[in-house]
Each structure stands twice: as structure tokens, then as C-alpha cells.
Amino acid sequence: MNAILKWFKKMPRSQWKLILLVASILLFIGVWYAVSWWTELRDPVQGSLVPPPDEVASSFYWLLSNKDRATGIYLFQHMFTSLERVFLGFALAFALALPSGLLMGRSWVAEGLARPIVEIFRPIPPLAWAPAFLIIFKIFWGPVAVVFLGVFFPILFNVMLGARSVDRTLIDAARTLGARRSDVFTKVVLPYTVPYLMTGVTVGLGIGWMCIVAAEFVSAEGGGLGYFILANSDFGYYPEMYAGMVLIGILSVLTTGLAGLFEREVYKRMGMD
């Protein structure tokens, strides 16, 4: 007993963290099973409303090689539809928000002109636009437009904040070295803003995944994971529904992780790690 205690005490922090991680996951799965059994006990006729983890896992496995019963196409087709929409919405938002944010942060004329428009759109949640965008942009581009709005504002505001807080003496130094306005913009303001941009990208990606699911709920038959989840729920195929949810979680974590890797790489290139 004493020997085991001693061994525990000597363990480094990193190993403790690993043990805690495993414990946390086991706890989560345990609670999931418990909830699942409890709903089954409560209403044995209807069966469990929350399928246990193993059932969701096997349904997930089944969906990898079979067309799903509710929508008639493969799960990965839905996945690609959603990925495509998130990517397009994100890319468009990034391409527009970065230059707009830089301009609005550095020029009071640009800010004075654009700010009122931004303030009109900002208080309306992107999801409130989903039905309108569906009518305007139809079933594929409608959800893309919702993602666009969700990603656009976090990037715009973060870049604006960064561009505004550029160290004055850096700009002065650049000017005494012969930099023109355009040089100051590309060689001082832009690199200075990169960390702010990265914050906007990470926040924007998270919001993008929230937006895509909800927008696809509305866009029925346009495909995508949101649609997949809703359709399986309508038919009462709960294990499939949960499998779809798990997949979205995985994708969201993966894309955010990818952004994090990209961020670290950029910092390393810029010598700021």
C-alpha cells in the first residue's frame, strides 16, 4: 500500500494529466451509459431515447459503408457538403474581413463609412438570417452565407483592434527608414495584426461550425450534417442522429486544431514563438 502511494507521489505532472484525461473520458462514458439505462427503465415500451455509446459507435461504423436510412446517401457525402460550405464561407469571410479590418483600423474615413453598416448587421444573429439567405442564395449557398456572416465579424473586429493598436514608434521608425504609406501598411501594420487575426480565425471557426448545423436544419434536402441529424431525428433513428453529432464535434476539433497548428507555424516563421 505504502509503496503504491510513494509511486503515485513521484509521478510527474504530465503523467498525472494523462491519467486525469483517461478518468475524465471514462466518467463521461459512464454517465452516458447511466442516462441511457435510466431513460430505458423509465419507459421500457418506447425504449431508450438516448442510445448507449456502443450503439452509437456501431451505428457510426455501419454508416461508413452504408447509405443511411433517413436521407438515402452516405454519411461522408453529408460531411463533405458541410465541410465545403464551412470552407467556402470561411474563405470568403477571411478574404473580405482582413482588408476591411485593416482599412477600418487605420483610416478614420473608412471606419466612419463602414462602421454604421457593420453596426446594423452585427446585432442580428447570423442564424436569424438562415431563412432569408436560403431564399436568396438557395439550398447550397444559403448556409454558406450564414457561415460567412458568423466568421466575418470576429475576424473583422479582431483585425480592426490589432490595426488600431500598432505601436506608433514602429511606424515612425519605418517612415524614417524611407517607408511609404503602402510599405507601412504591408510591412508594419499587417504583420503586427497577425496575432489578432489568428484570434479572430479561431473564434470564427467555432462560430462557423455552429452556424453550419443550424443553417442546414433550415435548408432541408440541401444535404449536410445538420440535415442528416434532423432527418434521422424525424425518423426516430437516434443512434444515427448521435453519430452525426459526434462527427460534427470531431470535425470542429480537427479544424480548430489545424488553425492552431497553422498559427504556431506562422509565429515560428515570424520569430515570435
Binding site: 521608425a173 524614417t176 527608414l177 524611407g178 515570424m270
Partner: protein
């Protein structure tokens, strides 16, 4: 005459209040001369440098560098700031190359010039290091190399060693004299330290309290390297100090009589 400033006046307007920073300020600096600008805080030393560098506009007067009015577009002066002002995302070498880059000097040429000036300031071993990996003194060496790489006629320095510890500061003063001797640049150097001014300068210009103008121009004829403990050094030092003390007193007296808080309390 490489710098010629005549009857310079600068008025700042801030929230509808006017601050006369400089009024009737004259300054002449000869080629290869090392001039230190000394004066009470707020007398307009930084403003003088910024106007000569083209970073700030003047209200009236004449500012000539090599006989031409300074235009903010293409400065012919280099500037070194107290806060180093290095680009944190660029290596030492890339910092030094900045001025050449915006002047579209080809890559090979840039690299050669940067190496030359990094070598001059004694930092060839740190070409690839980023500012956050350098000590304060090393950062200021990079900043000096960066200013010199543009081959300016004049080097303006605004309390460049103000944030360094005493030991590094003394070392950097000797280093600056060595670099100055090697390049024969004209240097206009702002400092708060009388000791530093007497150690470095060919001539010390003492400014009056705000609005700043020239109060006294003192030639320092001591041979270099100067010995801070020699009686001659101390004599020059006391002379400058007494000039400066009077201005400090004037500035303080005026501050007290003009301070709104004092009036309100009375």
C-alpha cells in the same frame, strides 16, 4: 553646414488648447559633428528631432538638411529611438535590411550591406536572432545598424541609451564613439544625462524651458577617449550642469504657477 534650423516654431493643438513647444529655435550642425541636445523635460527636444526627421510638421521657420527643406517623403536622416522600435517579427538582419527593402535594393545587395553594418556594431553572430532574444544594449545596436544601413547623412538619436543600465550605457557610449569615428556621420543626440553629453559631444546645446530655444552652445574641447574623473571633464560638467539647473528651476516655477490644480486649490 549639414543641419540648419532657423527661427523654428512649433505649436501643438490638443483639445483646443495650444502648446507652444518651440519658439525661435536655431541650430546649426557641421558635417561630422557630434552635437548633444540637453534641456529640461518637455522643452521640445524630441520635437526638434521629429521635425528634422520629417515625422512632424513645423508651424513656421526653416529646417534645412544639406541645404534642402526636409520633406516627409524621402528622409535623408536616420533615427534611433529610446524604445529601440525594432520590428519584433524580423530577425536582426531583416530589421537592418528594412530600409533597403523599401528602397527596392536587390536581395544580394541588401544582404551584403546588412552584414557589413551588423559587423560594425559587433553583432555578426546574432544576424538570425529575433529582438526578444536580445538584451537592451544589443537591441539598440541593431537599431543603430538599421539606421546606418540606409547610409543617411545625419543620425538623430533620441535618448537612445535612456533605458539601459549604467554599465551597458557606458559601454554603448564608447561603442557609439567608435562607430561614429568609423563612419564620420553627423550625430544629433538628445540626452537627459549631463555626464553622457560631456563624454560624447563635440558641442553641447543647452535648451531653455518650454517654449524651447537655444540657451547656450558649449564646445567640449577635451580629447577622446575622455576620462570622466579628470578635472577638465568635471569642469565642463559643472558648467553645463549650472546652465541646466537654472532652466530646470524656471520650468518648475512656471509649472507651479500655471498648474490648474494649484489654482483650484487656492
Amino acid at each position: 553646414m549639414i543641419i540648419s534650423v532657423k527661427d523654428l516654431r512649433k505649436v501643438f493643438t490638443k483639445e483646443r488648447r495650444e502648446v507652444v513647444a518651440l519658439d525661435g529655435f536655431d541650430l546649426e550642425v557641421l558635417e561630422s559633428e557630434f552635437v548633444c541636445l540637453l534641456g529640461p523635460s518637455g522643452c521640445g527636444k524630441t520635437t526638434v528631432l521629429r521635425i528634422i526627421a520629417g515625422l512632424e510638421s513645423k508651424t513656421s521657420g526653416q529646417v534645412l538638411v544639406h541645404g534642402k527643406e526636409v520633406a516627409s517623403s524621402r528622409p535623408r536622416v536616420g533615427m534611433v529611438f529610446q524604445e529601440f522600435a525594432l520590428f519584433p517579427w524580423r530577425s536582426s538582419k531583416k530589421n537592418v535590411e528594412f530600409g533597403l527593402e523599401v528602397r527596392h535594393v536587390p536581395r544580394d545587395g541588401r544582404s551584403k550591406v546588412a552584414d557589413k553594418y551588423l559587423d560594425l556594431v559587433g553583432l555578426s553572430g546574432f544576424a538570425e536572432a529575433h529582438p526578444h532574444e536580445l538584451s537592451g544594449g544589443m537591441k539598440q545596436r541593431v537599431a543603430i545598424a538599421r539606421a546606418l544601413a540606409n547610409e543617411p547623412e545625419v543620425l538623430l538619436m533620441d535618448e537612445p541609451f535612456g533605458s539601459l543600465d549604467a554599465q551597458t550605457r557606458n559601454l554603448m557610449q564608447r561603442e557609439l564613439l567608435r562607430i561614429w569615428a568609423a563612419t564620420r556621420k553627423t550625430v544629433l543626440f538628445v540626452t537627459h544625462s549631463v555626464d553622457e553629453a560631456v563624454f560624447l559631444a563635440d558641442r553641447i546645446v543647452v535648451m531653455t524651458a518650454r517654449p524651447g530655444k537655444e540657451r547656450e552652445s558649449i564646445e567640449v574641447l577635451l580629447p577622446r577617449p575622455r576620462d570622466r574623473t579628470s578635472p577638465e571633464f568635471i569642469a565642463v560638467r559643472s558648467r553645463v550642469l549650472s546652465e541646466l539647473d537654472e532652466e530646470f528651476e524656471k520650468a518648475r516655477a512656471r509649472e507651479l504657477s500655471h498648474s490648474p490644480e494649484v489654482k483650484n486649490n487656492a
